[in-house]
Point group: C2
């Protein structure tokens, strides 16, 4: 788990940050609200201590997170590399080759952190990395400005589906309360993250709903997403959030299936089950695998053939 | 506003509740998670003080809220009538005639409470009535059991869209943290309230999305719901939550319109606008009214004619 890293406390983390300067903060590829909120929040806090700091990411920052970047980057020669919300050096994307071996400090909430950094401040029971960053900023004695509060709240809200997912803890709510009181722009964040849908997304939902199939009296729902649908609607990856989960949110569904066409034409199947059904047992029948409630497999044949095979197997499981 | 009621503090509210017995707790018609969570949570607390208490509602309690009713009702002769989350005696539905004149105490969070009860404990800045009830239960010195916590959390979550809406305050989050720590079954509540959709709802969304119309380059979206769609899908009122809001959550939409057929065949039009557009100005052109960002009007003509008139007016507003 943390083979190489030295595990450090929040106090030691603050000491490391106080002692060093000229920070480059690495976020993970395909950036989300938590890695970006952690990065830009910590960056702002370090600057308020008179340090130099910048945030980078291997991928472009999605439009909806641009409000986190308003403080901009500065010109200086990097002395200290740190990472936030990065569980594995592979997740640095194109930044991996240049920086993975020189990360002095990793701040993370993934219990699965591979320990690629020299020092690791890990809070595995935090819903979001911004919970850990908030601990660090408080330890540094930095005033929580409305901007820092906005950054940290973003991570809390986006990693918990707005305090809905099971990773939410009482502490997550207490931190949300503190950050709201400190001036986090929570109304606008919640509106943009959880209410607004692009026209492309709306059209994707329409096509997905038109193609939904139920078998075994609605105990299994099958959702299909083809490359043609992605092209036609113009959806990007952030528009696709939650589409794969649609089949298992339908009342009465015990086995939710999503069949997605990959760019190479193969079909990726995700299976989500409720008690007592074993998703991994179904997936392993088709050479896949996973966990008891979430598993997956791939097919190289036609969509029709994929569905025929899946339906036969699932009918056997539900009615056999 | 509170013409007749005597406004009472949380301390006075607890005194009233300690002094009396044999409670009938009234909830509002078309019951939601807040009125039911308030009612059953307070009922359980009163019983733990050795009092008799029951909860009633003019309408059937929707299936998804049945977990709030597990403690059941008892047989006794009512001495004291109180209401929770009821802003106006009209909202008592069929219970109004029998009880509206004899409500000793109203616990509410609506600043618009009409003051129908003898005493009113009103916290107008609370996101949910369960925030007020929680204050009262703490003042009574009752231990917050997991069941009471589940009731009160239900109100917080459902009235705030899971801490997403602008009525959410730091206190809402602090109370959520306390209730989670007291054993609220928040995972299951959040799953049932915010994740599961009935097949009828899924089919309604499909039909709504198939019928959505954009005008003025997507700056206005029009959603239509007919009685035939309601019949065909089998949706009940709880399945319809949020359907009317769909048009205004689409990116780029400045004017969101929902046209709903009433059971008498007339068309009810809801208008939601973003700055700088005035919904009430549009509605008043058709004999309706409302607020600057939310207004409505009615039509007696054909759906086609309704849309023609609306489109002409909205195009004038957006492009004129």
């Amino acid at each position: 788990m943390t083979a190489m890293s030295k595990l450090v406390s929040v106090k030691q983390t603050a000491e490391i940050l106080n002692k060093n300067d000229k920070y480059l903060i690495l976020t993970h590829s395909h950036p989300d609200g938590d890695t970006l909120g952690s990065g830009f929040g910590l960056c702002s806090a370090l600057r308020s201590l008179g340090k130099k700091a910048n945030v980078i990411c291997s991928d472009e920052i999605p439009e909806k997170f641009r409000y986190l970047t308003v403080e901009g980057n500065e010109e200086f020669e990097v002395e200290t590399v740190i990472s936030v919300d990065v569980a594995d050096q592979k997740l640095l994307g194109s930044l991996k080759e240049k920086y993975a071996e020189s990360v002095l400090l990793s701040i993370d909430h993934h219990a699965t952190n591979t320990g690629f950094a020299e020092n690791l401040y890990l809070e595995g029971d935090s819903a979001a990395a911004t919970e850990c960053v908030y601990n660090v900023i408080k330890e540094l004695g930095v005033k929580i400005t409305p901007f820092i509060a906005t950054c940290l709240y973003t991570g809390l809200a986006t990693d918990t589906g707005c305090f809905k997912f099971s990773n939410t803890t009482p502490r997550t709510h207490i931190y949300a309360a503190e950050l709201m009181a400190a001036g986090a722009d929570y109304n606008e964040i919640n509106r943009v993250m959880f209410e607004v849908k692009s026209q492309a997304r709306i059209e994707m939902e329409r096509q997905v709903l038109n193609g939904i199939e139920y078998i075994c009296d609605g105990r299994c729902a099958i959702v299909t997403v083809t490359q043609e649908m992605i092209r036609e609607t113009g959806c990007d990856s952030s528009d696709m959030d939650g589409i794969a989960a649609m089949s298992r949110t339908i009342e009465g569904v015990s086995i939710g299936v999503t069949v997605r066409e990959k760019s190479d034409g193969r079909w990726k199947v995700s299976l989500r089950t409720f008690e007592p059904y074993d998703a991994s047992a179904i997936a392993s029948d088709f050479g896949g695998g996973g966990h008891i409630r979430a598993a997956g497999c791939e097919f190289g044949c036609s969509l029709e053939e994929v569905k025929t095979q899946l339906k036969a197997k699932i009918t056997e499981v539900l009615e056999g």
